[in-house]
């Protein structure tokens, strides 16, 4: 869940950021994503494959949001 919210937040902020802030936001998001994975793995709450699957779900939801954004933007323009 955190991965999804972080990825979508970066996606939504992207057009409003300068080049330097984009680099920082990508770096921060990477640290948060890797940290979240480790936080789940270290106490033994989740398996490694669970963490990989959650990253995949986060990417899938990001792609879904990007598609919704893309198609609704086109329809709004037209």
């Amino acid at each position: 869940m955190v991965s999804t919210v972080v990825l979508v937040a970066v996606y939504l902020l992207w057009p409003h950021l300068t080049k330097a802030w984009r680099a920082w936001s990508v770096a921060l998001a990477t640290v948060i994503l890797l940290g979240m994975g480790l936080i789940r793995l270290i106490p033994g709450q989740h398996w490694f494959s669970d963490v990989v699957a959650s990253y995949a779900v986060a990417c899938a939801i990001l792609a879904f949001v990007a598609l919704v954004d893309s198609y609704t933007r086109k329809s709004a323009v037209s």
């Binding site: 869940m1 955190v2 999804t4 919210v5 979508v8 937040a9 996606y11 939504l12 992207w14 057009p15 979240m36 480790l38 936080i39 789940r40 793995l41 270290i42 106490p43 033994g44 709450q45 398996w47 490694f48 494959s49 669970d50 990989v52 699957a53 995949a56 779900v57 986060a58 990417c59 899938a60 939801i61 990001l62 792609a63 879904f64 949001v65 990007a66 598609l67 919704v68 954004d69 893309s70 198609y71 609704t72 933007r73 086109k74 323009v77």
Partner: protein, 135 residues
């Protein structure tokens, strides 16, 4: 990133397909305990041997990132975005959060028994091979 060009749209479709394929692969590998899931136990044992003081810290941190907390924060941000006239962004953030909550709940409910069965190994300490006999 956000654009409606055919190229970016194709990239989004490709990302969606690859992500779902990886998710499906993880699901199949967990059910059959092969591929990636075949490595799970050794990775869990490695973390069990190295966690020491980090375990309690990680549990506290993961309590802070519970789905209810994250969903609450995301919805507050969405409401703020709505009132700041970024209504489109607010809707997209709410859509992403609700999708994540839905997927998390479905995944948890569909595999509760399976997760509990697998999680039971963490109750016991990972077994080490017995030391060689010195006699």
């Amino acid at each position: 990133m956000p654009s409606s060009t055919p190229m970016s749209r194709a990239a989004a479709w490709l990302t969606l397909a690859v992500s779902l394929a990886i998710f499906g692969l993880c699901w199949i590998s967990e059910a059959s305990n092969t591929l990636l899931a075949g490595r799970d136990l050794s990775i869990a044992h490695w973390f069990a041997g190295h966690r020491k003081h980090l375990a309690s810290l990680s549990l506290d941190a993961s309590a802070l990132t519970a789905p209810a907390v994250v969903a609450g924060v995301a919805l507050v941000v969405a409401v703020l975005l709505w009132f700041l006239r970024h209504r489109r962004d607010a809707c997209l953030l709410a859509l992403a959060t609700l999708s994540a909550v839905g997927v998390t709940e479905v995944a948890k409910k569909s595999s509760v028994a399976y997760v509990l069965r697998r999680r039971s190994i963490f109750v016991q300490k990972p077994k080490r091979p017995s030391p060689p006999d010195t006699c």
